[in-house]
């Protein structure tokens, strides 16, 4: 079985992320793909660069997942995040959550992503026509509270 949490420079194998959470009691499995999209706000994205503080990112993802397994009663959570240069349509992140019941699986998925975006040391530099910006930085018009985190794209 694959590791539950991983950082990779290769294309993410979503089936492997899902396989890491499967078990006989899990009737509901959510697989979330965060994919590079062509446009954010009014900017036309050309490509993204992701960077991670790998050991701390893996430690933080594990801690968040442990919390959420307790909080939501889900069976297992796994996540692989890609780093390096990503093009439109590439998956930046795949999260899988397995649970006996679907409501808990969906809630844990939402919470995992929200907490990852808050506290896991992974950075995204968006390259667009006319410039580049670190997402979430003070210079980023979509970051720093300019819209609520739960509305942010993946």
């Amino acid at each position: 079985m694959a590791d539950a949490f991983a950082i990779t420079t290769e294309a993410i194998d979503a089936d492997a992320v899902r396989a890491a959470v499967l078990g006989p009691e899990s009737g509901a499995v959510v697989v979330f793909h965060g994919t590079v999209r062509e446009r954010t706000l009014d900017r036309r994205v050309t490509y993204l660069e992701y960077e991670a503080y790998e050991p701390m990112a893996l430690k933080a993802m594990t801690a968040i997942a442990d919390d959420l397994v307790r909080e939501h009663g889900v069976a297992a959570i796994a996540c692989t995040h890609r780093v390096g240069r990503l093009d439109i349509g590439d998956d930046a992140m795949v999260v899988a959550v397995a649970s006996p019941h679907r409501a808990a699986a969906l809630a844990a998925t939402a919470d995992f992503i929200a907490r990852l975006k808050q506290d896991v040391p992974i950075w995204k530099k968006e390259h667009f026509v006319g410039g580049a910006i670190w997402i979430g930085s003070p210079e980023d018009p979509q970051g720093e509270g300019s819209r609520p985190p739960e509305e942010a794209g993946a």
Partner: protein, 81 residues
């Protein structure tokens, strides 16, 4: 004593390096280290205001004490997913 610094994302670009070893006083805390780092890399002064600091892979406060060999990372606002 010496501590290991890791710069990421906007912090890496401002410092111009990925990491370095820095000598600090034996009773230094995170705040004292940041003052030292901003003196070495003036371009860090602006970005530093929005950064968090991790010591040995856990988020730390400005008054967290350092120890010899501590790995200190400058964490600009994150944006994974």
């Amino acid at each position: 004593m010496e501590v290991e610094i890791r710069y990421f994302a906007a912090a890496r670009e401002a410092a111009g390096i990925e990491g370095e070893t820095v000598a600090v006083g034996d009773d230094s805390d995170v705040a004292a280290l940041l003052t030292t780092l901003c003196r070495r890399h003036p371009d860090l002064v602006g970005p530093a205001a929005s950064m968090r600091i991790a010591v040995d892979e856990d988020f730390a406060d400005t008054d967290t004490p350092l120890h010899a060999g501590a790995v200190v990372a400058l964490i600009p606002p994150v944006g994974g997913g």
